[in-house]
C-alpha cells in the first residue's frame, strides 16, 4: 500500500487496473479523458486500450469484449453517451458476461460542455444501475465494486463521476496488488442476437432485476443512514454529499442523513429506514432531481406523509454547479439556524478573461484567411466542437453556430437550403471529422448542397489534451498503424473540389478559400498546420521601433501574446509561438522575427 495524490480520473483508472480490467475503450471528452490515458500510462502490458473513433464505436467494441467474458470499461463525457445511446439501449437487454463499466463523466456548471444533462436519467431510462461517487477516494472503491456487480447481474454498470470528482485530487491508499481476470472467449449462444421475441423476454427480466438491484444496494456501504431521534432528514448524492457533511459541521447541526451512492435503482429498504419518523427531507443532488423523484415515489407507494423538498419544490436550483455556500445556506434555512453573513466588499471592475485560441494557434490564421476571403460577401460560418469553437471570440467572430459533434457540416446544409443566396462555410477539426463529420460530407455530396467545408487539421485532438486519432496513425498501445488520409477520404466521398493548404501562408490561404467558395457544389479545403503544443517555436516576433501603435494586430486577430501596455503595442516573448500571422496584418511592416535559440 502507498499513499498517493491522485486525481479522481486517475483513481478510477488505477481501480479498474486493480480490478483486472482487460479491455478499455473510449473517446476523449472533458472531464473524462484522463481515465483512459491513465490506464494506458500504467498498462502492465496485458490490457488492451484504444481511443475509438467515436463513443458509439467505443461502446460496441467494449460490448463485444464483455460478451466474450472480458472485464471492460468504456469512457466518455455525458454528451458522448448521446452518440453511444443506440448500442447502450439494446445492450441493456442483451446484457454482458464479463463485467462492463460504462464510465460517463457529467459536468455540472457546465465547465466544458454543451449541456448539463444528467447521466443518471440514462441509467433510469435504460434500466441500468448507476454508482455516483462523492469523492475521488470513493470513486476508487466504486469502480472495483462496479465490475463485481456487473458480473453478478450480467448488466453493464454506470459509474458517473462529475467534474469535481474527476478533476479533484485526494490522498489515496493504492494497493498495487491486482486481481487476475481470465477471459473465457466468445461462446456462441442465441442470447447475443436481439430479436423482438427475445427483447420481450428480456424486458420482463430486466424489470425484475430492478427489484434485486435495489435490495443489493440496501446492503452496500456506498449507501448509508446516519443520525436518529430527529424529525428532519437530509438525503445527498455525489459531491453534494461532501458539501453537506462540511456544512453540518460548520452549522453544528444534527439531522438524519441519507448518503445515496446509488441514485438508481434507489436502495428502497434503506430509504424506508431513513424515512421512518421523519417529517421532512431536503434532497441535495446536482443537476436533475433523480434521487428526489425516487424518494417522492417511494413515499407515495408506501403512503408515508414525509414531505420531500428539493428542486421540484423550489428549495434548490436545477441548473449550475452546487457549492459549499449554496448547500450551507439552504441547510441553515431548512434547519432554521442563523448564520453570520459574509460581508460583501465592492470589488473593482476586473478584466473579463474569456478562453481564447492560444498564441500561435493555426486556427486563428485559418479563420482570418476565411474572414478576409469572404469580406463583402454574405456568408454564414457554422462551427463545431473543439478548440476552434473559440473562433467565436472577438475580434475573429467566425463561429455563427455550434450544436454538437459533427453538426457544423450538416447545419450549414440546412441553412443553405433556407438561405440559398449566401455562402455557407463549415469548420471542423480533424478528430471531429473522423468522429461524426464524414456522414455530413456524404450527405452534402448525395444531395448536391453547395457548401464549403474547411477541415482544420492540426494533427491531434487538441482541446482535450492531445490524444491521437485515426489521422495520426498512433494508437494507445504505442503501435503505429495506417494513417487515414483525410484528402483520400473526402475524395472517396465524391467531393468535386478539394484543396489542401497551409493557413499560415496567408495570401495563398485566402485564394484557396475564394476559389472553393466560388465552386458550385460541395467543396472541401483542408488547412494543415500542427497544433503549437506539438513543436517548439522556431521564431519569436517582436515589435520594431517603427510601430505606429495603430493596434491593427490586436483588433484584427486578437492574439493573446500581443497586448497594449503603457501606450505601446508589445509581444510577450514567453507566449509568442512564431506563427507570423501578425506580420501579415501589420500595415507598417513593424513586426520582425528573430530565430529562437
Amino acid at each position: 500500500m502507498s499513499k498517493k495524490l491522485l486525481m479522481g480520473n486517475e483513481a478510477i483508472a488505477l481501480g479498474a487496473i486493480r480490478a483486472g480490467v482487460n479491455i478499455v475503450t473510449g473517446y476523449p471528452g472533458t472531464p473524462s479523458t484522463e481515465v483512459l490515458e491513465t490506464v494506458a500510462r500504467n498498462n502492465p502490458g496485458d490490457i488492451y486500450v484504444e481511443w475509438s473513433v467515436n463513443e458509439k464505436s467505443a461502446m460496441e467494441v467494449a460490448a463485444g469484449a464483455a460478451y466474450s467474458g472480458a472485464r471492460t470499461m468504456v469512457t466518455m463525457k455525458q454528451v458522448g453517451l448521446n452518440v453511444a445511446s443506440d448500442p447502450l439501449m439494446s445492450l441493456a437487454y442483451i446484457g454482458v458476461k464479463g463485467g462492463m463499466v460504462v464510465l460517463v463523466a457529467d459536468d455540472p456548471g457546465p465547465f466544458s460542455s454543451q449541456t448539463e444533462q444528467d447521466t443518471r436519467h440514462f441509467a433510469r431510462y435504460s434500466n441500468l444501475p448507476v454508482l455516483d461517487p462523492s469523492s475521488p477516494e470513493e470513486a476508487y472503491e466504486m469502480i472495483q465494486y462496479a465490475f463485481e456487480l456487473s458480473e453478478m447481474v450480467e448488466l453493464p454498470v454506470f459509474l458517473r463521476p462529475t467534474t469535481r470528482v474527476c478533476h479533484s485530487c485526494a490522498t489515496i491508499d493504492i494497493d498495487e496488488k491486482r486481481l487476475y481476470h481470465k477471459v473465457e472467449g466468445f461462446v456462441k449462444d442465441p442470447r447475443w442476437v436481439i430479436f423482438p421475441s427475445l427483447a420481450y423476454k428480456k424486458h420482463i427480466h430486466i424489470e425484475l432485476l430492478q427489484h434485486k438491484l435495489s435490495d443489493i444496494f440496501s446492503g452496500i456501504s456506498f449507501n448509508k443512514v446516519e443520525g436518529k431521534d430527529v424529525k428532519l432528514g437530509v438525503a445527498a448524492s455525489g459531491v453534494a454529499y461532501s458539501y453537506v457533511v462540511e456544512a453540518l459541521e460548520k452549522l453544528n447541526a444534527n439531522v438524519k442523513l441519507f448518503k445515496v451512492g446509488t441514485p438508481y435503482p434507489l436502495p428502497k429498504e434503506m430509504a424506508e429506514v431513513f424515512l421512518n419518523g421523519l417529517d421532512e427531507v431536503l434532497v441535495f443532488e446536482e443537476l436533475d432531481p433523480v434521487v428526489e423523484e425516487e424518494i417522492t415515489m417511494l413515499c407515495a407507494s408506501k403512503q408515508l406523509d414525509t414531505r420531500i423538498l428539493g428542486k421540484k419544490t423550489g428549495h434548490l436550483p436545477f441548473a449550475g454547479e452546487y457549492t459549499f455556500e449554496l448547500v450551507c445556506e439552504a441547510l441553515a434555512k431548512y434547519l432554521n439556524i442563523e448564520t453570520e453573513k459574509i460581508e460583501n466588499t465592492t470589488t473593482p471592475e476586473l478584466p473579463v478573461r474569456q478562453p481564447v485560441l492560444c498564441a500561435g494557434c493555426p486556427h486563428r490564421a485559418s479563420f482570418y484567411a476565411v474572414k478576409m476571403a469572404m469580406k463583402g460577401q454574405k456568408a454564414v460560418f457554422t462551427g463545431d466542437i473543439g478548440c476552434y469553437t473559440l473562433g467565436n471570440a472577438k475580434p475573429l467572430d467566425m463561429v455563427d453556430t455550434c450544436l454538437c459533434m459533427g453538426a457544423g457540416i450538416t447545419v450549414a446544409q440546412g441553412i443553405k437550403r433556407a438561405q440559398p443566396e449566401a455562402k455557407h462555410i463549415a469548420f471542423i477539426g480533424d478528430s471531429t471529422f473522423f468522429h461524426t463529420g464524414i456522414p455530413g460530407i456524404i450527405n452534402a455530396v448525395y444531395n448536391n448542397t453547395d457548401i464549403t467545408v474547411v477541415i482544420l487539421d492540426n494533427s491531434t485532438t487538441a482541446m482535450t489534451g492531445h490524444q491521437p486519432h485515426p489521422g495520426t496513425g498512433k494508437t494507445m498501445m504505442n503501435n503505429i498503424s495506417e494513417k487515414i488520409d483525410i484528402y483520400g477520404m473526402v475524395k472517396a466521398c465524391g467531393v468535386g473540389h478539394i484543396v489542401k493548404g497551409d493557413p499560415l501562408d496567408f495570401s495563398s490561404a485566402v485564394e484557396i478559400i475564394k476559389k472553393a467558395a466560388e465552386y458550385k457544389g460541395p467543396s472541401v479545403v483542408i488547412f494543415e498546420a500542427p497544433c503549437i503544443a506539438l513543436f517548439k517555436p522556431p521564431v519569436k516576433y517582436t515589435v520594431k521601433k517603427n510601430c505606429k501603435n495603430c493596434k491593427k494586430c490586436i483588433t484584427d486577430i486578437g492574439c493573446p501574446a500581443i497586448s497594449f501596455i503603457d501606450g505601446k503595442v508589445s509581444i510577450e516573448p514567453s507566449l509568442c509561438y512564431g506563427c507570423g500571422l501578425c506580420t501579415n496584418v501589420c500595415p507598417f511592416n513593424a513586426i520582425g522575427g528573430e530565430e529562437n535559440e
Binding site: 479533484s168 462540511e246 459574509i342 473579463v352 472577438k394
Partner: protein, 201 residues
C-alpha cells in the same frame, strides 16, 4: 497538523496546477491528507484558473469556501483581486505583480486598472506581500518558473504548515530532472526576495 487551506489563482498557462500539486505532495510527505480542486479544460486557454489545496481535509469537500482560505498565492494582479473574497480574515496573501492583459482589455472591451486593483487588495487583506515573480523567474533563467518563484515567496512568509526543506524536496522530486536546477534557483530567489521584503517592513 491542523487544517490549512491554500488558494492559488492565475491565468491559464502560468503553472498553477503544478504549484498546487507540489504543495499537496509536500503535505503528503509530511503525513497529512491533502485534497486539491482545479479548473482543467476549456478555461485553461487564457481563462482564469483557480486551484484549491486543502491540507488535513479528509472530511471536507475539495473547494475552499468563501472567506476560508488561510493563504492565497495569486499569480497575476487582477486574479489576486478576483480571489480575495475567498481569503479568511486571518489569512495572508502573496501577490505576483505581473499583469496579463486579456485580449478583451487590449481591445478596450474590458477594464484593467492596476492602481485601483492594488488598492482593493491592500484594503481587503491585512497581511499581503507583493512580489515581482516574473522578473525573478527571468533572472532564475526562465519566466515559466514563475510558479516555483511564488512557492518560494509563499514559504518565506512562514505560515505554510511545513518546512522549507519539505516543500523544496517535493519540488525537486516532482519536476523533470533537467529543470531541477532552474526550479531550485527559482525557489531560492522567491524565498530570498520575500525575506528581504519582510525585513524592510
Amino acid at each position: 497538523m491542523s487544517k490549512f487551506d491554500i488558494l492559488i489563482s492565475g491565468v491559464g498557462g502560468q503553472g498553477t496546477v503544478l504549484a498546487s500539486r507540489l504543495i499537496a505532495a509536500a503535505a503528503i510527505n509530511q503525513g497529512c491528507f491533502a485534497r486539491t480542486a482545479e479548473t482543467i479544460g476549456m478555461s485553461q486557454r487564457g481563462g482564469c484558473v483557480v486551484s484549491h489545496v486543502r491540507i488535513d481535509s479528509e472530511k471536507s469537500g475539495s473547494v475552499i469556501p468563501l472567506g476560508g482560505a488561510d493563504m492565497i498565492i495569486a499569480f497575476e494582479l487582477a486574479e489576486a483581486a478576483r480571489s480575495i473574497p475567498r481569503l479568511s480574515k486571518k489569512g495572508c496573501c502573496i501577490v505576483n505583480t505581473q499583469v496579463i492583459k486579456p485580449v478583451s482589455a487590449s481591445l478596450g472591451n474590458s477594464h484593467y486598472d492596476n492602481e485601483e486593483i492594488i488598492k482593493y487588495i491592500k484594503d481587503n487583506s491585512h497581511d499581503v506581500y507583493f512580489v515581482d515573480g516574473y522578473s525573478l523567474a527571468e533572472k532564475a533563467g526562465n519566466v515559466k518558473a514563475v510558479n516555483v518563484v511564488l512557492l518560494g515567496a509563499a514559504t518565506a512568509v512562514g505560515k505554510m504548515p511545513f518546512t522549507r526543506e519539505i516543500i523544496l524536496d517535493a519540488i525537486i522530486e516532482n519536476v523533470p530532472r533537467k529543470f531541477r536546477e532552474l526550479n531550485q534557483k527559482a525557489f531560492e530567489m522567491g524565498y530570498a526576495a520575500t525575506v528581504e521584503l519582510i525585513q524592510k517592513a
